[in-house]
Symmetry: C2
Subunit: 357 residues, 2 copies
């Protein structure tokens, strides 16, 4: 087992990474009061609820099981967590445990942020995507029909348990979606890690435990470093959104849950790479390397065929990265180096929107 500390002063917390961390006493160590509310979904709960409950035998454990999927990440399902907390009379010393992927982590974390104005929260991410992304950094929230993650809060967990063992039950398509974010970390911050991924993609897709553990550790390390520098996302943290402005537009256009987040990020990142190339910041060989790696990871490299520039323009203008009406994008200056900028050519952007090559 490896332990990574996210350094946020008095809100610092450990991420435990490795095979079997869920079977250890780590969970119980981070519960504060007597009450625990397990938040999970109908897919994950039957698989791992028993392991979680076994390690919490000394506590009063209640649970709320939500339907599985991004389509249910809304205020109405979020409110079901409060219904259960109040029905079972949980007080402000309760601990919420999120057992599931990013949707469960975001909803349970946001409920923990708001129940009685903030209670204890532990993340047990069960997808590669949530292990390397949404479980690190304290972003929580739900979707609004007019935009993804528009309602939320920053709320740090007291611990994250990333067990590589749970990835054995993850469908291939979701493993690939997680790899999109892993590749993103290489692209924005670490060219050597990008090369390592080129050399180890087959090992990762065949779920080699050591390869997965390294990829998770390095991804979390890069994200933790950026979050520690910039907890409230004023500056460098925005680089983590590479591919996300285009990607959110793709997800919204397709309808939540139709494209997996990681798939949309992959196609969105290819659009960012294409625009970066048109600006002359990276060259065609770089774009080819990125495209080959996404393909090797089993990911799409283009947005849905029916999306027009008009669709993108309409959906991106509501994006959180628009400052006072001016669109800012994360683009690449090199593999391993990203930048947030509004200094790009509008004609080049239009060419990118008209179809990635």
């Amino acid at each position: 087992m490896q332990t990574l500390t996210v350094d946020l002063g008095d809100r610092s917390y450990p991420i435990y990474i490795g095979a079997g961390v869920l079977q250890q006493s780590l969970l119980a160590q981070h519960v504060r009061g007597k009450q625990v509310m397990l938040v999970s979904n109908e897919t994950v709960a039957p698989l791992y609820r028993a392991a979680v409950c076994q390690s919490l035998s000394e506590f009063e454990v209640d649970e709320v099981i939500l339907p599985d999927g991004e389509a249910y990440k809304d205020l109405a399902h979020w409110n079901q967590i409060f219904d259960q907390l109040l029905l079972k009379r949980h007080n402000r010393t309760t601990t919420l445990i999120a057992l599931g992927g990013g949707v469960i982590g975001d909803m349970a974390g946001f409920a923990a942020a708001c129940y009685q104005r903030g209670v204890n929260f532990i993340q047990v991410p069960t997808t590669l995507l949530s292990q390397v992304d949404s479980s690190v950094g304290g972003k929580t929230g739900v979707n609004h029909p007019a935009g993804k993650n528009m309602i939320g809060a920053f709320h740090q967990p007291v611990a994250v348990l990333a067990d590589t063992g749970v990835l054995n039950t993850l469908p291939d398509v979701e493993l690939s979606a997680g790899l999109a974010e892993v590749i993103k970390y290489g692209l924005i911050h670490d060219a050597d890690f990008f090369t390592w991924l080129e050399n180890n993609m087959q090992a990762l897709r065949s779920r080699n435990a050591d390869a997965l553990a390294y990829a998770i550790y390095r991804s979390c390390e890069i994200k933790a470093e950026m979050v520690a520098l910039d907890e409230r996302e004023a500056g460098v943290r925005a680089l983590l959104n590479l591919g996300h402005t285009f990607g959110h537009a793709i997800e919204t256009h397709a309808g939540y849950g139709q494209w997996l987040h990681g798939q949309a990020v992959a196609a969105g990142t290819m659009m960012a790479a294409d625009l970066s190339c048109r600006m002359g910041w990276i060259n065609a060989d770089d774009v080819d390397r990125i495209e080959r790696l996404f393909k090797a990871a089993g990911l799409p490299i283009k947005p849905p065929a029916d999306m027009t520039p008009a669709h993108f323009n309409a959906l991106m203008s509501i994006d959180k990265k628009v400052l006072d009406g001016r669109l800012r994008l994360v683009l690449l200056e090199a593999i391993g180096q990203a930048v947030v900028t509004d200094q790009f050519d509008q004609a080049a952007l239009m060419q990118t929107l008209q179809g990635v090559r």
Copy 2:
């Protein structure tokens, strides 16, 4: 005009108190981007919307007008604020302005806390209660059918404008409700202020501007001092809840909006005073002084006649001040000195619940 600074490090903010502060340029000074969302209710908006908009002519001002009353302080009406923010494409540099009483302040503040994970927020409280209580301290939130203020966040405004002029349109019963909280500040922290209130209650009820300004200033000063010491309500800030554990039970039992918050706090504070007397901490003369002052302020001194000890026990066990199943109450050691404690006699509590004297 007087200005009080709530000292919270990089979240410090000014409270402007006096007649006509709304007519000055103070509001515009604290807007950050180009967009403003005015949140108000159907009663207050027609009275003061024009004054607010006139001082914001250089900004894009949109508005959401909610129905008036505690009954509408719920997730569904809270979501109407997000509907409007997204419809009008407000980005994360927007400023929300709460124009109304505590309900509007709590809902708009909670929306500001959660819209895109936190945006700028200005309070323009239009009731005495919200000027001396909910506009100071950063508590925001909505009610759940099973409990008041169970869903919320701490989110500090960037400025509060407490204009004594707007109190001229406030119904008498709401002025009295605000005075309940003013009296509370004297009881928990300042015996001299309590005496000043005994001597000036008629001036306050007849809306003498100078008397109101002093009462608001001193109340905000006491609350600001306690909030600065204890932003997250771990310790001394809990003293501000004098009368609130009993009071919340009264409000919930009566049904939200049936008893005004300040009326419930007055009756609840009398119960706390009664229990404190039964414990021998204050004497019968103290209880008489408190009762006389609440009566002079036009406030109830007993809970609804149909409330039984069983009602109180059921409703208080869900209260946020229950720690691991043990009820904690704010009680009085003297007029001007309160304490948070779970060290009270259960039999004495039962006698109090059976009827305040």
